[in-house]
Symmetry: C2
Subunit: 195 residues, 2 copies
């Protein structure tokens, strides 16, 4: 039987690879539980992101400091992973500041533990490959959205594909994520409600 | 003994993982040799990139058609891999047009063969993970260069880090890669020669 703390992460990994109970136990043994209060920082720019974080409960956002202003980069919710994959894989300092938007409970695994587990559990290396491929695909999609879609279209994509962002993230962070002023977001929302 | 055709690809893979002769033989059995004449197209936008290509000899560039003009995206030389990793992993049509800039000899492996080999050779899955991580890191670096560096700085990076591009790629393709007109590239080169 899996402890309640690990049920969601087990289901998450199980969507990509099938591990035995013994293999899951090896994986769980490497996890560390992290609790964050609302608005608490998990990582600041200049630090190295040495862990990947599975979100059991709560919500994270990362932002960049651009000329004294916070520019929201992305939002993450329960049952998803966060790491600055660039910093995590290269060991270079992150440019991201990651913060809890709600009280959050995370499970962290270090790069080091993960590489050891890849040695012990070859099937887990497949999971690592798929995670890396998905990180690449995600980054390409973000690039493509910024090149090809207007702020209104990107807002509509959020509404359709990521309703949790609309429901749980403060408006001014969403505006900053879309690269527009809060007043412009209000106008977009009013226009879409009318149409 | 490894056939001359496979020596370079063996050395390339061997830099990331260590396979036995039997495992290399399984891998080589899945390769198809591709010869391209100078200026011949390997893949056009709208097609799916179903193979990854190791360049034994020659040089490839990919370009996008932007409002009737060719915009050069990247250049690849012997002992490197090319695939549109997005199209290759998702099965979606590519936006890239890939062309031989010199007479080229490639070794191609299909996504399907590769996934089968990952089943047979778990160590090869590590190679797949590392390739995917490197694809992500490469894309992040490209993003960052476009955001943070001027055309002159990006040209200087090419001179320093990728001299083959300077030596073997026609000037107008380099200019298009830098996002500038050929005349601007001439001016940048003259200015740098003087300084």
């Amino acid at each position: 039987m899996t402890a309640p703390l690990y049920q969601a992460i087990k289901a998450n990994i199980g969507r990509l690879v099938s591990l035995t109970e013994t293999e899951y136990a090896l994986f769980f043994a490497q996890l560390r539980s992290v609790k964050l209060k609302k608005r608490e920082m998990l990582l600041r720019e200049g630090e190295v992101c040495r862990e990947a974080f599975f979100i059991n409960e709560g919500c994270l956002r990362y932002f960049f400091n651009v000329e004294g202003e916070e520019k929201s980069g992305q939002f993450f919710f329960e049952n998803a992973w966060y790491s600055d994959f660039y910093s995590f894989t290269t060991g270079r300092p992150t440019e991201e500041n990651i913060q809890a938007l709600e009280a959050s409970q995370l499970l962290a695994i270090s790069r080091e533990s993960l590489l050891q587990l890849f040695e012990q559990i070859p099937k887990l290396e497949r999971w690592g490959r798929l995670i890396a491929e998905n990180a690449f695909i995600g980054l390409k999609n973000v690039n493509s959205a910024f090149l090809n879609l207007s702020p209104t279209e990107r807002y509509q994509t959020l509404v359709k594909e990521r309703p949790k962002v609309i429901q749980r993230v403060p408006q001014h962070y969403i505006a900053s994520y879309l690269g527009i002023q809060p007043e412009s977001l209000s106008r977009i929302r009013k226009r879409l409600q009318k149409s």
